[in-house]
């Protein structure tokens, strides 16, 4: 049971619409591509409509228009933001050096947040966590050592252009197999999760729509 729809008329209509669209999508598995393509357009249209609604009701209205209307002189950052939006919209008609400013800010900000976050939030803490200190328990030392060996073998498997010899080739091969084993384990979980997603749709059709097994 998805639990998204109530027992009232609106819920019943929504359940029927969702069930029919689900059947059409499942019909795509049997080769019915035309209706399946139509559902893709429907999804894209609904998503675009929802995004526009969200932008107007929860972003532009309450976070831009209302603050500016309440205090036009006190929100300089919003005026600056509006100017950048205007610049981006008018880019085809503006000199390149002006039109590129909003894009440069977006790219610069994205890179700064992503890079800064990756270094401070991931790289440094993860590196600190793999440093073995003598105070660690024997189990932690063994686990850390095993992790270091596995990492080294996997990395060694991808080093090319240097003579390896018999032992080196075996180590590289072992590294590649270890990597494959890791990916295989993850793919096993993925298969499990994808199966659950399909079962959810089947359960929706049987339980929510047809009322079987409710």
């Amino acid at each position: 049971m998805s639990g998204f729809f109530g027992d009232d008329t609106a819920g019943m209509v929504a359940t029927w619409v969702a069930a029919l669209v689900t059947i059409v999508v499942l019909g795509g598995l049997l080769g019915e591509r035309r209706l399946f393509g139509w559902t893709q357009h429907l999804l894209a249209g609904l998503a675009t409509g929802f995004l526009a609604l969200l932008a107007v009701t929860e972003v532009v209205g309450p976070r831009v228009v209302e603050p500016l209307a309440a205090d036009p002189g006190g929100r300089l950052e919003l005026w600056l933001g509006l100017a950048l939006v205007g610049t981006a919209a008018g880019a085809p008609w503006l000199p390149r050096t002006v039109a590129i400013v909003p894009l440069a800010i977006i790219i610069g900000a994205l890179a700064a947040f992503a890079l800064g976050g990756a270094v401070i939030g991931t790289l440094l803490p993860q590196l600190a966590a793999v440093v073995l200190v003598p105070e660690e328990s024997p189990a932690a030392m063994v686990a850390g050592g095993a992790m270091a060996v596995v990492s080294a073998l996997v990395l060694f498997g991808f080093i090319h252009g240097m003579p390896r010899g018999r032992i080196g080739s075996s180590a590289a091969s072992l590294g590649r197999w270890l990597l494959l084993a890791g990916i295989g384990g993850w793919l096993g979980y993925l298969l499990f999760s994808r199966l659950l997603l399909l079962l959810d749709r089947i359960g929706f059709l049987l339980g929510d729509w047809l009322g079987i097994g409710r």
């Binding site: 803490p125 499990f192 999760s193």
Partner: protein
């Protein structure tokens, strides 16, 4: 390919769907279990939730995606019910449009079932992804509909909440929260529920303690759901669990398909691809 084989290949997906549908109706859930045998996952969750103060304020970063939400939905619903059962107050915020759509659906479900609205606050959608996360650490946004909880949280930063629950998806998940929020706030526990596709990138955060608890596999989610006593909040929990019999049938079919592919390859190890083409 013979005509019969072509027909089989064409109808195989429909047959699989029918088979799974039939299997999901089998009453075998008492004999077959989905739960993970690893008790540490559940113990970690319980320890974190038991360690929260009375009536904690929990920020729920709700950003699952439409494609994988069904995988984590039962766990998310039980977790939210568990938090409410522990007298927590939940403030929802989304940083992706898909997450916002699903948050609206879940809040509407709460309303329909009759959850106490004074314990819920809808902080809406915050655009800007990573930049929005940074701003969240400084100041929570005003709620869509005001209530006492929303007024109390307004103007406060994330350091003022007692815990953060991240429901992640493909677009924005626990990794972004750990990278952008965790370094900017104090020791606020960060708990996460995510689909299994994110497992390789977020599992290391659990090992380092940057995430205090994590459910990222269906088996761990089932184990957590099984361990929880929701008391009077049972009505907020999902009404149906995934059918273990159908999962078993699906996995057997998958193994058969993989096995036949592997068997065919092993039987013809040196055959060039061109020679295997049908005539």
């Amino acid at each position: 390919m013979t005509e019969r084989r072509a027909l089989l290949v064409r109808t195989a997906p429909a047959l699989l769907v029918i088979l799974l549908g039939a299997a999901s109706l089998l009453p075998l859930d008492d004999q077959l279990r989905l739960e993970s045998g690893d008790a540490s996952i559940v113990e970690r969750w319980s320890a974190q939730l038991d360690g929260l103060p009375a009536q904690p304020d929990v920020l729920v970063g709700f950003d699952p995606d439409l494609g994988t939400y069904a995988e984590v939905r039962p766990t998310v619903r039980v977790m939210l019910a568990d938090l409410l059962n522990r007298d927590a107050r939940l403030a929802f915020v989304s940083l992706t449009p898909e997450g916002r759509a699903l948050a609206l659906a879940e809040l509407e479900r709460f309303e329909r079932i009759g959850a106490n609205p004074t314990r819920l606050a809808d902080l809406g959608y915050l655009p800007g992804a990573e930049a929005a996360l940074v701003s969240l650490a400084r100041e929570l946004p005003p709620a869509i509909e005001e209530n006492a909880l929303a007024r109390r949280l307004a103007g406060e930063g994330l350091a003022e909440v007692e815990a953060i629950l991240v429901v992640g998806g493909n677009d924005l998940g626990p990794r972004s929260w750990v990278e952008q929020v965790a370094p900017r706030i104090g020791d606020v526990p960060m708990l996460a529920i995510a689909p299994v596709i994110l497992l390789p990138e977020i599992r290391p955060y659990l090992a380092t303690g940057q995430l205090d608890a994590l459910v990222a596999t269906p088996r761990d989610g089932a184990a957590y759901r099984e361990s929880v006593d929701l008391g009077g909040f049972e009505r907020l929990a999902p009404t149906g669990e995934p059918s273990a019999a159908a999962v078993l049938v699906g996995l057997v079919v998958a193994l058969l398909v993989l096995g036949s592919a592997l068997g065919g390859r092993l039987a013809r190890p040196g055959t060039p691809a061109a020679a295997r083409e049908p005539r």
